[in-house]
Amino acid sequence: MHPAPSVIVFTVLSGLGFGFLALLALGGLPVSGWGAFFCWGLGYGLAVVGLLASTFHLGHPERAWRAFSQWRSSWLSREGVSSVLALLVLAPMALSDWLGWGIERWLGGLGAVLCLATILCTSMIYAQLRTVPRWNHWLVPVTFLCFAATGAAILAVRLPWAYGLCALLALLLLAGWRVGDGAFAKAGQTIGTATGLDRLGEPSVFEPAHTAGNYLLREMIHVVGRRHSRKLRIIAVLFACLLPALLLALLPVHLAALLATAAHLIGAFAARWLFFAEAEHVVGLYYGKR
């Protein structure tokens, strides 16, 4: 699949943002006064910048409001609804932490659930697709949720939680690649089933259907991004998991928060780039490509 920068920025930043908001909402990082203002502002900023970035790949961003309507069937619509609900529900909690209103924490709990629901919906947009076998697996939502939790724990320097989550995320990434590499073959779709010509013999492409590119080839069959997958996988695990844990262990708190989060984001971007670039759509079978 084509790794659109806007979608990568969106999933990484809003994942971290909603994870951090959930942590603040649950009182995982006791803050008050201007410290609360800064922390909640950072969480809102990350979430909102991510959501805005997601509209950049739309053909008609001005119609994005329509995406709130189909929550009964569409994970993308559910994501829109739950993200806005989370941001609205958490607003009093944020103001309360900042201005000392003393609103009870149960509201934060509700907001945290909505934050996690948003991340789950984001991941299900991909995990629901039978057409992309690499994504069609429960490890995808689990990994997205773990990314959010890990990012939040690193940003808030919650030790030893951050160490454990870094280790868990590394394991999930490795498991995801291991399962993902065999997913297309396991799904069992071939050029034979795509054309139904397997009932006749062994089909192969004789001549392309069109001489130049088209939307399908540009969007679903993205070979360029896969070339450096091995190196990118190492970068992803190193930066998203190992380096942040090391920095958190060695540096003073504020510097650690800054540098470990920066490292984690680099790793998250690499992992998310691969998530798209390595995903193969079954429509490629018609073109004899993956």
Binding site: H57, R63, R66, S73, T195, P203, A209, N214, L216
Partner: protein
């Protein structure tokens, strides 16, 4: 509404006969012609760099060609038109966040309301068959409408009230009809010839059916072989025999 209808009154769709299709691309041209009457302006199918080095454009129907290696016989070329199959469990419909993508309860046609489409592309990701293409100029998703503006169009002569691809096919490889009626021409044709669905394991329940190429009769592996066994006569024959003995 992107929830699928419980059941559709009719199940309109196509039978595509891979035995008769010659890959002439007439259906591709007729489809583009009917659906792009305004030259890609408002509701048409735009092209980019149409006369340049890297032409690209929106098409609702593409014709592929495959070589099929048949067991113990010469390989066979099969031309293969690919377009929307108007699935009963259309995943392109349920993923749509805006309700722009929908399946009609009355006849099962899957359509896009282009005024409500935000151009997110998720429906094209959800389709295994590559039936949907985003229009690069208009930023909305395009797909086969089964020529919904022809089949019910009273201002057209009756023989033209079928999809443009079916109307134009010079070999009669494309058939249009109602699969909900077991006695319709398409239902009977599909039953007689072993019509099949594409990638049925993906649980999309396509309506369209493809008819497999008929089994070819036995053919000699190399029909020209006897012609190669030339017996030289005269001087050449003498030379041939002489050289053969040395």
């Amino acid at each position: 509404m992107t929830l699928l209808p419980q059941a559709t009154g009719k199940k309109l769709g196509l039978v595509i006969d891979l035995d008769t299709c010659v890959g002439c691309q007439a259906c591709v041209t007729a489809c583009k012609g009917w659906n792009d009457r305004d030259g890609g302006q408002v509701g048409g199918l735009s092209d980019q760099d149409a006369y340049g080095a890297r032409p690209s454009g929106t098409f609702l129907n593409r014709v592929h060609s495959y070589q099929v290696q048949v067991a113990q016989a010469a390989p066979q070329v099969v031309t293969f038109p690919r377009s929307c199959l108007h699935c009963e469990d259309a995943p392109c419909v349920t993923v749509c966040p805006t309700g722009a993508s929908y399946k009609r309860a009355e006849d099962g046609i899957v359509l896009v309301n282009e005024d409500a489409c935000i151009g997110c592309g998720l429906c094209a990701w959800a389709c295994p068959y590559g039936a949907r293409e985003m229009d690069a100029d208009q930023g909305v998703m395009k797909k086969c409408t089964l020529c919904v503006d022809r089949i019910y169009n009273d201002s057209l002569p009756e023989e033209d009230r079928e999809p443009a691809c079916v109307r134009t096919c010079p070999t009669g490889a494309r058939h249009f009809g109602d699969f909900a009626d077991p006695d319709s021409a398409v239902s009977r044709l599909s039953a007689e010839r072993g019509g099949y669905a594409l990638m049925p394991d993906l649980k999309t329940r396509p309506v369209n059916r493809y008819l497999p190429p008929r089994k070819k009769g036995p053919s000699a592996d190399a029909p020209l072989a006897p012609l190669l066994d030339v017996k030289a006569t005269g001087f050449a024959g003498w030379l041939d025999r002489l050289l053969g003995k040395i």
